[in-house]
């Protein structure tokens, strides 16, 4: 399985929605505390034994906490930078011409960016200044700012079917569902007793959300009856950093945690844990499932490594 060694601590990986063998990795120096950052665009090798190729790398003054591929342009990327800016990169252009844009409106670190998969023209940024901002690629200023959370917003995710609906996860222990046409949030989910670090929508049931929290659990909610979770997935030893629903199987989700493992769950099954990978030697902070290749997983962690492997195989195998 290809493994990429980055110079900085990994923070996020995302597969490209256009190329099966391409993925982006967001990294930050010094664990993201204080230092530079780098955005890598990687290509998986055609043969298993060959090393991962780096198509492009973009340096930033501050750490890059998250990256999102554009759904409309095959080479455009959006980077969430720790200095509060959101930067647009074109991996087809040389580094000297990049970034294309630097959108600086957040007053604190931007933790997450997500591109709209249905409308393909807009993206969200979630930051530690308690706000979520909506942007389009062509505008220099944000289109909307959603300010309701009482603490850092750690994640924002678009609904896979409804182009105007998204959800946000915050350190104020609530997740909120928003509609961009409404001024405020349309639903508040007091999902956990501790901070919620990540959330994702079920791609096959657009009313189901999974939230991952510092309390080591992942809870799956149905927004139609959101008082009681559909499932509570326990098994991680420490805070769950990221959760991602499979684009191919409706009840499968992947998660990564500070316990250095990446776990796969099937929340509709009694014994939910279907896979566990402990290849990382530091916090596993980023995980993604490929939309184009079923079962292909990628993960990254503070051990500066990016792994790509098929579910059921060993990530560390060559």
């Amino acid at each position: 399985m290809p493994i990429f060694k980055a110079p900085f601590n990994g923070y996020s990986v995302k597969f490209s929605p256009f190329y099966e063998n391409r993925l982006a990795a967001a990294t930050a120096q010094n664990f993201g505390i204080l230092g530079n950052g780098r955005l890598h665009v990687l290509a998986l090798p055609p043969t298993p034994g060959a090393p991962v190729a780096e198509i492009a790398a973009f340096d930033t003054a501050d750490g890059v906490y998250d990256v999102a591929w554009s759904e409309s342009h095959d080479s455009l990327l959006v980077a969430a930078v720790a200095d509060g800016s959101v930067k647009l990169y074109d991996s087809a252009l040389p580094p000297a011409s990049n970034p294309l844009r630097s959108l600086h409106e957040h007053t604190r670190e931007v933790q997450s960016v997500d591109y709209n998969p249905t409308r393909r023209d807009s993206f969200l940024s979630a930051a530690w200044d308690d706000t979520v901002k909506l942007w389009t690629v062509d505008r220099p200023a944000s289109v909307r700012t959603f300010k309701e959370h009482a603490y850092c917003v750690y994640a924002a995710a678009w609904n896979p079917r409804h182009a105007d609906v998204f959800a946000s996860a915050s350190g104020d222990c609530t997740a909120r569902v928003w509609d961009v046409r409404e001024p405020g949030s349309t639903m508040i989910l007091p999902a956990h007793e501790s901070e919620i670090l990540s959330l994702d929508w079920n791609k096959y049931d657009d009313c189901v959300i999974a939230t991952a929290s510092v309390d080591k659990s992942i809870r799956v909610w149905d927004v139609r009856s959101h008082r009681v979770p559909v499932a509570v997935l326990n098994g991680h030893g420490y805070a769950v950093r990221k959760v991602k629903f499979s684009p191919h199987r409706g009840s499968l989700l992947a998660s990564c945690s500070y316990d250095m493992t990446v776990c796969l769950w099937d929340y509709m099954v009694e014994d939910s844990l279907v896979g566990r990978y402990d290849h990382h030697t530091e916090f596993a902070v980023g995980v993604d499932m490929s939309v184009l290749v079923e079962g292909l997983l990628a993960s990254t962690g503070w051990d500066e490594l990016v792994y790509v492997w098929q579910h059921g195989t060993d990530p560390r195998a060559p």
């Binding site: 099966e20 998986l44 074109d90 349309t186 805070a239 896979g275 402990d278 290749v293 098929q310 059921g312």
Partner: protein, 513 residues
């Protein structure tokens, strides 16, 4: 809030009640079940009166009124109240304060709160008697402007001190005579009792004796139970002590291992065995009580002052952070800049550069296409076992889709086999039309090479990969299938020990390439 009026029609739950503005938007944007869509993502519960009343009580509490509004809202949200309920509670709160508020309700809560907090806290001990004076003070204080609150606070304190002293004196005067009366009464009662006893006769004696016996028996029982409880507590403490000792031992081992890691960091072979060891230790440490860790975790995650003093650095936080992380945190706290940080100019060279046009058309998402892409579904069809084991270029040609990528998609063949073993029958038969489920692929041949690499030394592994690909694969693959089965089903714990050393050595070689 704009969502308010929208919610009411949605409460009825019928699409017809939906406002007309939803319809064109739905038609334009969404497909299937579009008319019901927006209502699903909105709270359609009616306002719960009980929750609102609880919220009102909460908001009326003087201590709460000293906190910023956003925290009050956040607290109520965490308790599960909907926006409408919270808004309703906020609307009701000023109406329920005991002192009549003639004017300036909204700016006053701040002043009232701070003034109230002080008198309340100082009179805590004399609560019942001081309630009236405090009430008077609060009413006096509330009608004034914030500027005067210090003076009024001083008045309040002074008045309370006087009233406290007065009540103390009063109580002293009241209590002592009452106490004396009570003592006299008791003594007189005893005398009476003595008289009565001689008068009452044996029946009373018997009754008292029986009562005394019953009391003694009850006391004995209570003593027994408390003794048992004490014993169990002692035992629990013993176990806890043992557990703590064990954990300490594990901690010590962890520490020694981490120092060993530091030493061996330079050596390529270190990571494999040690990481697995570390992981086991982490597994053991999981049993540490959760509460402090949850707090520590939260503190770490907040990082509210990343550049100044990061929270959570006082304690090691929930998850054990790498040593270098703690070093860097300490460095940053001291105000030093880590040496490896460079000055980088990452501003756009041409901020008005035109965004290039897209080169490829966007692809449909798997969940959007109900019909599977036929070519890919054929690829993923579970073919006969003999074919399945073969990893040849022909399959690559079929799999390789239209995007023109020349890369042989070796990663595509490797669908999970293990977890779907029990579902093979379903998958072998009808290929579901929906792309929601795709039958599993047999384990790919590349894994056989991995299996070889695991069993054989590093150099040999490299040669294996490049040399014969026609080695007897079937047995290897089945072995490796079992291994993978173990690997994923047992969470990797069992097999990592065997696999990690071999794996990591090859991994390191790959990296070096």
């Amino acid at each position: 809030m704009a969502t308010g009026p929208d919610d009411k029609p949605q409460e009825s739950g019928t699409e017809l009640a939906k406002p007309t503005n939803e319809a064109p938007q739905n038609a334009a944007a969404d497909n299937v079940k579009s008319t019901s869509t927006p209502s699903v993502f909105v709270n359609s519960e009616p306002i719960r009166e009980e929750q609102v009343q609880n919220a009102v009580k909460f908001l009326s509490h003087p201590k709460v009124q000293g906190s910023p509004v956003i925290y009050r809202r956040s607290f109520l949200e965490r308790k599960g109240l909907t926006k409408e309920e919270i808004d309703e509670a906020f609307r009701r709160v000023p109406d329920q304060t005991p002192s009549a508020q003639p004017t300036n309700v909204s700016p006053d809560p701040q002043s009232k709160s701070s003034a109230n907090v002080q008198p309340q806290s100082s009179s805590q001990a004399l609560q019942p008697t001081a309630a009236a004076p405090a009430g008077v003070i609060s009413s006096v204080v509330t009608t004034t402007r914030p500027r005067f609150r210090w003076i009024h606070a001083a008045y309040a304190v002074g008045f309370l001190a006087v009233s406290g002293a007065g009540t103390a004196v009063l109580l002293k005067n009241a209590i002592i005579p009452r106490f004396k009366c009570w003592i006299r009464k008791v003594i007189s009662d005893e005398e009476n009792d003595v008289l009565k006893r001689t008068n009452a006769g044996p029946s009373l004696e018997e009754e008292t004796a029986a009562a005394a016996k019953a009391a003694a028996a009850a006391a004995a029982d209570v003593a027994k139970v408390s003794q048992e409880m004490l014993n169990s507590k002692v035992e629990e403490r013993k176990y806890f002590g043992e557990l703590v000792k064990l954990l300490d031992v594990q901690l010590q081992e962890m520490k020694s291992m981490s120092t060993a890691i530091q030493k061996l960091e330079g050596h390529a072979n270190a990571s494999g065995a040690l990481s697995q060891f570390n992981h086991e230790d982490h597994g053991g440490l999981v049993t540490i009580p959760k509460q402090p860790f949850a707090n520590g975790r939260a503190e770490f995650e907040s990082r509210s002052a990343r550049s100044s003093s990061p929270p959570g650095s006082s304690e090691p936080s929930a998850a054990p952070h790498p040593k270098s992380y703690m070093e860097i945190m300490a460095m940053v706290q001291r105000g030093e800049r880590p040496p490896n940080v460079k000055d980088i100019n990452d501003s756009p060279p041409n901020p008005h550069q035109q965004i290039p046009n897209p080169r490829l058309a966007p692809r449909a998402k798997p969940w959007e296409t109900i019909q599977t892409q036929n070519n890919s579904s054929n690829v993923y069809q579970y073919q006969s076992s003999a074919e399945a084991w073969n990893y040849n270029a022909q399959d690559n040609g079929i799999i390789d889709q239209s995007n023109g990528d020349a890369s042989a998609p070796w990663w595509q063949r490797k669908n999970a086999r293990i977890t779907e073993i029990d579902r093979d029958e379903d998958l072998k038969t009808g290929q579901p039309v929906q792309r929601a489920w795709v039958p599993p692929q047999p384990p790919p041949i590349a894994m056989a090479e991995a299996a070889e690499a695991i069993r054989r030394p590093k150099q040999a592994a490299q040669k294996e990969q490049s040399s014969d690909e026609t080695a007897s694969r079937s047995s290897d693959v089945t072995d490796e299938l079992q291994k993978i089965t173990k690997f994923s089903e047992s969470g990797g714990a069992e097999s990592t020990s065997e696999m990690s050393s071999g794996m990591n050595s090859t991994e390191i070689q790959v990296e070096q390439e």
